[in-house]
């Protein structure tokens, strides 16, 4: 007795094709979400490296500016003190801004990542049609 029926693989059923097509489309969507997560992680690392230097640079700029003004106006050390404190304040504010960004990045990387990706999926975002 010969089996006349073709093997199941050679002619996939319509359901097979539909399922595979759906899987591919889902993967495309997931890849976009994945890129978003990766970005959040890398940004977290990058921003963490900024904090120390930010304060140092702020005080340096303040000090330099203060010394320059004192030298010109012969008001030493008024402008030095004023500018260093102003620079330090600016530095602290920048650090606060950085940590706020890092919080956002961390939220994307950890915990809420899956939820974020899920809620983001249905709403087509304006700038991911490029890929």
């Amino acid at each position: 007795m010969t089996d006349r029926e073709p093997p199941a693989q050679s002619t996939p059923s319509l359901e097979d094709v539909a399922a595979r097509l759906e899987a591919v489309q889902a993967r495309e969507a997931k890849e976009n979400a994945g890129a978003e997560r990766r970005k959040g992680k890398a940004e977290g690392i990058g921003i963490g490296m900024r904090i120390g230097i930010e304060l140092l640079a702020s005080v340096l700029v303040g000090g330099g500016l203060g010394v320059f003004l004192d030298d010109k106006l012969e008001t030493s050390p008024i402008f030095l003190l004023a500018m260093v404190s102003l620079g330090f304040t600016a530095g602290v504010m920048n650090v606060l801004r950085i940590t706020k960004r890092m919080d956002v990045a961390n939220r994307i990387v950890h915990g809420d990542a899956a939820k974020d990706a899920k809620t983001r999926q249905p709403a087509p975002s304006a700038d991911d049609d490029g890929e």
Binding site: L14, V17, L21, V24, Q25
Partner: protein, 163 residues
Amino acid sequence: MPQFDPSSFPSQIFWLVVSFIALYLVVSRLAVPRVAEVLEQRHRLVQDDIDRAASFKAETDQAIAAYEQAMADARAQAQEQIRIVTNEAKAIAEKRTAEVTKAVNDQTAQAEARIAKARQDALDGLMQVAADNAKAVVAKLANLTPDDAAVQSAVAGALKETR
């Protein structure tokens, strides 16, 4: 620290500018357009394939729907046809039955009428014969010529009794 020796600054800045411009040319003329092109091509290819598969699937779905619709239509049409034909046949049959019944009834009625008439004729004939006989009998026996009407009513009365 050699980093803070200003004598090397002009040279570093000069070569930095030169090499940065060179690298910018490499990136903007070679790297970016070519890589962007190949990525764009690949993306288009993949998207095209997915789109085509999706459109094929839509076509298939459509074909299946059309086939099912056609099947349903055909079935409905056939049923309608059957209904019409059945009705027609039924109507014809009924008409024929009615005709035949009518013909049979007519003929029966005719036959009955004929029978009744024949019977009446026979009865009338019988009465005439009986009356004639009775008259003859009376004339022979009593030498009387009875009244026709009297004889006939007497015969009718006698017939009624025998009946």
